[in-house]
Symmetry: C2
Subunit: 416 residues, 2 copies
């Protein structure tokens, strides 16, 4: 009962990725495909070098093993470049075909400007990355840019971002025309969510929510093992859920958004108002140093700052509690730079969210705090590009197998 071959190919590659050192028999069981189908698909993937096989001995306790062929994703079947735009910098990371980071670079950047400035900087950055990492341009299988705001991944349009002055920018198309490499864009919180799903705390979870705490408050949601995207390909979002009818002004122009209480910028604003700190500074380095310092002070005995974090946490707990009351996800993962304040912030968040839990719901939501390094979004960007590649029947075969369809299977060359 044939289904579209792209679905089967995707499932095979995705299952090998999730289960390194997998045999064909296990692959058939986990994908619901017949053994014949698995044999055919894996052979074609071996032919074009997307996967590799190696024999191993299956060790049985106290007995002799028997030989067994194990399959893995070929790490150097291609490379992916992930780029994250934020208000203060632009970060670049190259990952291999498994999504492991092989090179990272940061460039200074200032937001609130024309998008072409970002395009120019990305163009330059890509060139420099490839040179520094020693990777040929033709080995780059795709580029993905993570941008805060309302991003339609499918249409490639940046509807709105705090980074740019313009609205509804066809960012992916413009960048593709410049780079001539397959180019995708996505909301930055969605990329972090994908990274959690592929490589982090959401691995093997079919349904979970991610709350990102940084300059703003973001959200991601995985359901049925897929990233949830809403109308126009946009969503979800937590930062502009209201926690107070007519409350504090948010940078979005509305009142009472949780972001106006619990994001980095809100906490800095509160600290500034309360203690005349020169905190909310436009200089990226001052901004970063200040928020790091006050988070540190809040954790180590400054009761005034601890109280600001506690109230911010309680407000974020309200929004998280509402999100749980609405969606009831089994797991909520907190991540982002805002976790630098650790329990000074997250403790009150979880306490308030638990307090608001409905008595009828006996399920205890699992809360996870996950501090990643800078590579998290790059790995999410890689995952997003690899999802497209896994489903693309022409990837690999078109460029690599041209003219050698009758030749025996062979490995592609390796880049050192």
């Amino acid at each position: 009962m044939a289904e579209k071959p792209t679905h089967s190919r995707y499932r095979v590659l995705d299952t090998i990725r999730r289960h390194p050192n997998i045999s064909r028999v296990e692959l058939a069981a986990l994908t619901d495909l017949s053994r014949a189908a698995v044999t055919g698909i894996t052979q074609s993937l071996l032919d074009i070098g997307l996967i590799v096989e190696r024999p191993a001995m299956e060790s049985k306790e106290g007995g002799r093993g028997r030989p067994r062929i194990m399959l893995n994703i070929s790490p150097d079947a291609g490379y992916v470049l992930g780029i994250k735009l934020s208000l203060h910098q632009m970060s670049f990371s190259i990952t291999d075909f498994r999504g492991d980071v092989v090179y990272t670079m940061h460039l200074p950047f200032r937001g609130y400007q024309k998008y072409e400035v970002a395009i120019d900087l990305i163009d330059m950055g890509v060139q420099r990355c490839l040179e520094d990492a020693g990777i040929e341009r033709r080995r780059l299988s795709g580029v993905c840019v993570g941008i805060p705001g309302y991003i339609s991944h499918e249409a490639g349009i940046c509807h709105w971002s705090p980074i740019f002055l313009e609205r509804d920018v066809p960012f992916a198309e413009v960048l593709h025309n410049r780079l001539r490499i397959d180019t995708y864009i996505e909301n930055d919180a969605n990329l972090v969510t994908l990274a959690e799903h592929w490589f982090g705390k959401g691995r093997n979870l079919p349904c979970f929510a991610v709350v990102t705490i940084e300059h703003g408050i973001g959200m991601g949601f995985v359901v049925n093992d897929q990233l949830y995207r809403g109308a126009n390909g946009i969503g979800p979002e937590l930062g502009h859920s209201k926690v107070e009818d007519g409350g504090r002004p948010c940078r979005c122009g509305q009142l009472g958004c949780v972001e106006a209480y619990a994001s980095d910028y809100a906490i800095l604003r509160e600290a500034e108002e309360s203690f005349s700190l020169d905190a909310y500074n436009d200089n990226p380095k001052v901004y970063h140093d200040t928020i790091t310092r006050i988070a540190d002070q809040a954790r180590h005995g400054d009761t005034r700052l601890a109280a600001i974090y506690a109230e911010a946490g309680r407000r974020l707990g309200q929004a998280v509690g509402n999100m749980i009351a609405t969606l009831n996800p089994p797991t909520v993962i907190f991540t982002g730079d805002g976790l630098r304040a650790a329990d000074a912030l997250i403790g009150p968040v979880i306490e308030e969210a638990r307090r608001l839990k409905l008595s009828g719901n006996s399920y205890d939501t699992t809360f996870i705090s996950h501090v990643w390094g800078d590579e998290v979004w790059a790995r999410g960007a890689a995952a997003l590009v690899l999802q497209h590649i896994y489903a693309d029947p022409d990837f690999g075969s078109a460029s690599r197998s041209a003219g050698k369809t009758m030749e025996p299977p062979q490995m592609v060359e390796h880049v050192q």
Copy 2:
């Protein structure tokens, strides 16, 4: 590339249901199955009488048609009984195999009591329904009970409901032991959502949210053409999303839930407090008559009552606005008895939800008000049972084809 046959069978039946009078060629195109697979599956479905075929002439403009075999779900391949429990009554509806209602009956019922009382009444009601409708018990393929509260469909457990005194009741199992018919339970708002998806305003929409306004405020969410269920199989829920920090007391025991502002019971409580109406009466008929009367008065010039509805609507609009800010569903469908107040309530809901829309999101959420008759939940219950039957490879073949596997295909008998 074989996938599990149950998936293919489900897709074929579901596609025929969605597209009455479909040809095998169209079926293959819409299901992504090969023509050979479609031929095999449809033949087995014809053999056991779940679908029927009929020839028709394909009329070509100005020319002659050519003969064409069209497939449809066989309406009398089986019957399904849907039961809805509410605080004031128990409703029964029998639907045919397409989900069309063929018989409906209501019994008086009082909530807040031991669940065995409901089991007894359901047992009696099922018997009476079948007799009145003239349907043999063995023709009943399944029973589904819709219950307000925290219901785990998969486990068959009623974790909490305002209807019962007990918690964590294995309701489906107890009822199955009594009826000896396949039995399912589900949250009532989820059944309405399924009904919208199969038969109503959500038909052909892969993603939408439903907000039900009745004695409480419920919610359903369809994503990727599937009903979303959260942790423990429970969710989503809108009624206990908070719209005021430390606001009005809700029947759940917490403060500030939107249900405490915008549900039938909240509106009655407000009317009672403001005007000394004897509205919040435990007598079901008085309760129903009162809420119907004040909704009518609010719509026809009573400015005090209109103001109560407007404020209730604004508060519900806050919760809907937060839900949209979080999930960004393309469409929100309002349904339930609470729509009796029509624009006196829904007007302010939509106005407030639109006001709270984020300026960065250029997508205009589609709002739909859908007033159904009582049959809506029964059709949802039917849809839920039919989903299970469509995916069950033993349904039909085990009981009906026994001993006639070598006979030519034939129609099952029809019940008039």
